[in-house]
Subunit: 208 residues, 2 copies
Amino acid sequence: MPNEIGLLEAIYTQRQITRYRPDPVPREAIEQIIDAAIRAPSGGNTQPWHFIAITDPELIEKIGSLYRDLWLGSLGATPAPGESPVYGAARYLAQHMPEVPAMILICADHSRGHAPHTPGQPIERGRYASSVWLAIQNLFLAARALGLGTRITTTHIRGEEQIKQWLGIPDHLETVCLTPLGYPRGSFGETVRTPAPQVTSFNHYGAP
Amino acid sequence: MPNEIGLLEAIYTQRQITRYRPDPVPREAIEQIIDAAIRAPSGGNTQPWHFIAITDPELIEKIGSLYRDLWLGSLGATPAPGESPVYGAARYLAQHMPEVPAMILICADHSRGHAPHTPGQPIERGRYASSVWLAIQNLFLAARALGLGTRITTTHIRGEEQIKQWLGIPDHLETVCLTPLGYPRGSFGETVRTPAPQVTSFNHYGAP
């Protein structure tokens, strides 16, 4: 990454990207963002993550269609009266998920944690959420640095068994987050948030 | 932050800091890192987080002593034979937690999520883990940018009720992570990880 972006510039312009250009994502870029993801700290430095980059258009079409059907089946193909604008963007993405240029499926690897998974036993979902989500934020920021958009999605979890079968994912992996990855239509830009003082206390809850 | 650190420099040198100098952390620095934390994406843009900065030495001593006792009570005051070096650092921190210059207690605010908390009902722990941990990684990186060390810890959760009472934290907040915050003794430096290719697959689990 020759012209390195500043940390704060990346953090303050990490917009959730809904619309993607069809241009393919270079393999080298995918490797770079995963290499940044694994620098995250993790509980006991167990690094309990696994990243599956999906670039095969047939797989993207299958997984994206499953995602779309789950999302629209749950939240509807047309806007509900008075729904938040956030849902409009998520619905657009759901409808176009089968044609995104790439996806990354981020998994928790339960064989790498403190309490290794016993084969044949169910995994304890969420056990490694902390470490995996820290890595995911690194991944999102590193993608931003390369001009690549991402978006936090978890709707695929309801179709996890099917996705695990398609991708040959073993039992000890829990799928945590599925992000599209691609160059955005439109631009990155500053995000708007509830101001920090409204969600910050000093020494006592509610004290400014 | 006049001399902004590069994104990748921050990501690749975000070492977990065990030993802290006693120098106080300026309030402005705390406000800056929380302002960066809240830029993280969140599910449905609900921003379900709350940050409690702890700078009062009496509170730090009380919470740090509770943390120390919980940690040493669980993992022992002296190294177990063959224990991972990670535990040695964590034990050192536990022993010195009552004297760190500052702490940030990061909480999930269950009144801000999609399924707002019903007063009197128990909260569903972990429900907003994804969003909160994304914000925590921003917080860690922004601290790094200011030369401030942090360390991921969750041992306090077993003493959560006591901490919530001391800080006046209401029922709808779940404490997620307690990080010390301060200028490190020693320096930041490159972290070592299991190389990315060992935790990455392309299109099919196990495919390089």
